[in-house]
């Protein structure tokens, strides 16, 4: 049974009010709190207890898997391996997410390693949300590693969101795409206080016709620090685009490093990066519509991160 704090965190990271429909595995304070499998989706614990394997049968369509993680015990540190085996021609939604509530003085840390093996022509929508809360002095640390292997013709859309309360993040995402595979990444990040967030993407376009679009929108407030490092490597005729668009506020610092590497004459790669403060005229416009300066700022940030 989960307590109220755990339920609230679950709502933040997985939009779940109750247990979800379909397959799920809820991990709370280092142990599996609930699990459900379906005829097409199986979830099996790894023998050494280090995580789970999720098997989705070929041709599974319109099904979802939820694997939220909740940490509410101060001082808990864990490393979890979750492997997703997605069969050919699937069309599925996977919702992961981690919420830490730390009201103690010891650091809480969850390091999740997610590996995706996406079968031929399969279609995956992956949503990952991070959230931290709690008044304790202990840090809330999340270091997610995501490794994606995409077979020919497969497509994956990843939505990575971290809006509040995580003190320290080092996110590393690598992807290898075969011919005709397509990967879209939408990252939204907000840091405040003295938080630090590092986000690195390494996307290798290995097959003809592979494509990727890696876009990050972020807001850095207070004294926080962000580093966005996105590298696309084109090893075949392919198309790639990466973009970092950041709003800087207060005394925050942002480093954006978009990188492109072309190893094929027909690799068409583009990068864009922009960092700037909120335009004064945007605030003035919203003030003429009746908002206060603070409300205007919130609207602009909410819209930007939407």
């Amino acid at each position: 049974m989960m307590d109220e704090i755990q339920k609230r965190i679950l709502m933040e990271v997985a939009d779940l009010h109750e247990v979800p429909e379909g397959a799920y595995n809820i991990r709370a304070n280092g142990v599996s709190a609930a699990r459900n499998v379906t005829a097409n989706i199986d979830i099996i614990s790894k023998e050494d207890g280090s995580g789970i394997d999720i098997y989705i049968k070929p041709g599974t369509v319109n099904e979802s898997v939820h694997i939220p993680v909740v940490l509410s015990q101060s001082g808990l540190k864990e490393m979890v391996y979750n492997d997703f085996h997605i069969g050919a021609n699937c069309d599925v939604v996977i919702v992961a997410g981690c919420g830490i509530h730390n009201c103690g003085d010891q650091d809480s840390e969850h390091d999740g390693i997610h590996r995706f093996f996406v079968g031929e022509n399969a279609k995956v929508k992956y949503v990952e949300k991070h959230y931290g809360s709690g008044e304790g002095t202990g840090k809330r640390i999340l270091n997610p590693v995501t490794e994606v292997t995409m077979e020919a013709g497969s497509s994956m859309e990843m939505e990575m969101v971290q809006i509040k309360g995580v003190d320290n993040t080092n996110r590393v995402t690598t992807a290898d795409l075969a011919a005709g595979a397509s990967l879209v990444v939408r990252e939204r990040l907000m840091t405040h206080g003295d938080q630090e967030a590092i986000s690195s993407y390494f996307v290798n376009l290995n097959g003809a016709g592979a494509s990727t679009d890696v876009v990050s929108r972020s807001v850095a407030r207070d004294m926080s620090y962000q580093k966005f490092d996105s590298r696309i490597t084109g090893n075949a005729p392919c198309t790639g685009h990466t973009e970092c668009d950041a709003i800087i506020m207060d005394q925050a610092k942002i480093l954006a490093i978009p990188q492109l590497e072309a190893n094929d004459i027909d690799a068409a790669l583009i990068h864009e990066a922009a960092i700037g403060k909120i335009a004064g005229e945007q605030i003035i416009k919203l003030m003429t519509l009746g908002l206060t300066e603070a409300e205007a700022e919130e609207q602009i940030i909410n819209g930007f991160l939407k």
């Binding site: 335009a279 005229e281 945007q282 416009k285 009746g290 300066e293 909410n302 819209g303």
Partner: protein, 246 residues
């Protein structure tokens, strides 16, 4: 009623102060449609910004319906009933047309109501309601959305800074209709438009001619317009737009 008393505005230029608005006084009655015209650099946009609170005067006062708003912030003036349409509409990443209209109306505007404001400015609402107010919209589209936000506010005083700037001929024609409808719908609404366009001057109750920061002339359209025809203060928009100019 809008009252402007001995209003001055100066900016620091090199060592001396440069006065943009010199001791202006004027009164605009409730429900009047007033156009401010005059040469470029004469202080028209500055006066509009002073009314909206975007610039702070160096002297004088501004009153709306008897309440002194000289020291009020932009937000406070907005709540007192001042709306302001920018000459260059502001773009926002991630804020949709409907979001902006909802903020403007100050309430949970239904999609149907939001669409009505867009239709009013000649935009096919369905195509625009969920669009972001960003660079993907043309200058004319942004301008019409800007005007729709002022319509959604429905305040006692609406100030439009060169509403015709950057819009095409068709939009310009429908703009005139928008102003005419605004007056019909609520005859108490005071509308202040900064414009050089003869067709806008043609529907004014009063015309104010501003030059070098001074009021050069202020009177009824019948009295003032004949003195302006053929000067840059009253441009024939249709002739100019069909020639491709603006």
């Amino acid at each position: 009623m809008l009252e402007i008393k001995n209003l001055s505005f100066a900016v620091a230029a090199d060592t001396a102060e440069k006065e943009i608005i010199h001791d202006i006084s004027l009164t605009i009655g409730k429900g009047r449609f007033v156009v401010i015209t005059g040469p470029n650099g004469g202080g028209k946009s500055t006066l509009a910004k002073l009314i909206a609170g975007i610039e702070k005067p160096t002297g004088g006062s501004i009153l709306l319906d008897g309440v002194d708003m000289t020291d009020k912030s932009i937000t406070e003036r907005a709540h007192m009933g001042v709306s302001y349409a920018f000459q260059q509409p502001v773009k926002f990443k991630g804020i949709r047309v409907i979001d902006l209209l909802r903020i403007a109306s100050g309430k949970k505007l239904s999609v149907g109501d939001a669409c009505a404001y867009l239709s009013e400015v000649g935009l096919c609402a369905r195509d625009y309601i969920d669009r972001e107010v960003n660079g993907s919209l043309s200058g004319g589209e942004l301008k019409r959305i800007e005007i729709a936000t002022v319509l959604a506010r429905g305040t006692a005083l609406s100030v439009f800074d060169e509403p015709e700037a950057g819009i095409d001929l068709w939009s310009f024609k429908s703009l005139i209709e928008v102003f005419e409808r605004m007056r019909k719908v609520n005859s108490d609404r005071t509308i202040l438009v900064i414009s050089h366009q003869e067709r806008i001057l043609n529907i004014a109750d009063e015309i104010i001619v501003l030059g070098s920061g001074h009021i050069l002339n202020h009177g009824s359209r019948e009295d003032v317009l004949p003195t302006l025809l053929g000067t840059p203060a009253a441009v024939n928009a249709c002739a100019q737009l069909t020639k491709g100019g603006a």
